[in-house]
């Protein structure tokens, strides 16, 4: 390959990459218009670039993420990406809400119950038949 051809391709490559100053770009555009050699080389180079950018985009296999995390799991001796009963993350927030709701239900049941220990017995000491204790009279 001659130096002039090498230089021509370099200029055309920069031209296609839009990496030339305005004046030089205009000069190359003029050469492409007027010179058959430049015109052909430009067309071929542009076609090569078009073909390269038109290559189909290869997609990673569907199992890729699983494969990567499994490998990390193995190599880290189980420290990372272990399988968990509750999925990837233990839903601590949801568990706390459930626990609070459960406690509230238990508290309500105890309060509402006749014998619940949380119920305030307003009648204590007045007329409850079973609860009345006869004062013992000293001998």
């Amino acid at each position: 390959m001659s130096d002039s051809e090498d230089e021509m391709i370099a200029k055309l490559s920069d031209y296609l990459d839009d990496a030339l100053p305005q004046a030089e770009r205009a000069e190359i555009a003029r050469k492409i218009e007027s010179d058959a050699g430049w015109k052909a080389a430009h067309a071929e180079l542009a076609e090569t670039r078009r073909a390269l950018s038109g290559l189909h985009k290869a997609h990673a296999p569907g199992s890729f993420t699983q494969d990567v995390t499994s490998t990390i799991h193995k190599r880290s001796a189980g420290r990372f990406f272990a399988r968990r009963t509750l999925g990837d993350r233990v839903p601590f927030g949801a568990l706390v809400v459930l626990a609070v709701l459960g406690l509230a239900v238990v508290a309500y049941l105890m309060w509402a119950s006749q014998t619940g220990s949380l119920k305030v017995d307003h009648q204590a000491g007045s007329a409850a038949p079973g609860s009345s204790v006869q004062p013992t009279t000293p001998p």
């Binding site: 390959m1 090498d6 391709i9 370099a10 490559s13 920069d14 990459d17 990496a19 071929e44 180079l45 076609e47 090569t48 670039r49 073909a51 390269l52 950018s53 290559l55 189909h56 985009k57 290869a58 997609h59 990673a60 296999p61 890729f64 993420t65 494969d67 990567v68 995390t69 490998t71 990390i72 190599r75 990372f80 990406f81 990837d88 993350r89």
Partner: protein, 192 residues
């Protein structure tokens, strides 16, 4: 760097497994496409792409946010590809030597990453044939030239990004790009 990217990085540094899955989902196809175009073989590409993400998981603390995260990720990708190309070349040489010793005068090992040439060159510039022809031509470039042409013409990254990824000066990237395009142009010409 966007706030979203910073947040993802913080979580990655904390070894947040969900963050790592997000990273994988967001970048796996692009990384795989680069490894596939660099290596020309799906099995090798998948293996190298996996190693890229494992390296990212292990070494995320070394990313100092002096560049975009994607730039760092592609640098890791390119380095892994170059290492694999060297490894495959060494293995190919070793296999060929062994074959020469045991089967002097026999058929050579097909070391072409892209596989055999298309059987019908007159129709090679159409569809899948052109794809195969180009992939074969890319695989025959030396790795320094292959990197720049894949990043620029296949992945459409800017020259500046390629300089950051490869650590090469602007002029070197451009001259390698010119050279690679010239070789590819000649390959295509010879099949027209």
């Amino acid at each position: 760097m966007s706030e979203l990217e910073r947040s993802l990085l913080r979580r990655l540094r904390d070894r947040d497994e969900r963050a790592f899955r997000e990273l994988l989902e967001g970048h796996r196809d692009r990384v795989y496409n680069i490894t596939f175009r660099m290596l020309g073989n799906r099995a090798e590409a998948e293996d190298v792409a996996q190693e890229v993400f494992i390296t990212v998981f292990k070494t995320i603390d070394t990313f100092r946010e002096e560049s975009k995260f994607s730039t760092w990720l592609y640098r890791v990708t390119v380095n892994h590809c170059k290492n694999r190309i060297k490894y495959l070349a060494r293995r190919h040489d070793r296999d060929r030597d062994e074959l020469d010793e045991t089967n002097a005068g026999g058929e050579g090992v097909n070391g072409s990453i892209g596989g055999p040439r298309p059987a019908a060159p007159d129709r090679a510039l159409e569809g899948a044939q052109l794809e195969k022809l180009l992939q074969d031509a890319i695989a025959r470039l030396d790795d320094d030239h292959r990197v720049v042409v894949v990043l620029r013409d296949v992945e459409d990254l800017s020259i500046e990004e390629i300089c950051e990824i490869t650590g090469l000066p602007d002029g070197t990237v451009k001259s390698r790009l010119h050279r690679a395009r010239l070789v590819l142009r000649k390959k295509l010409q010879s099949h027209v």
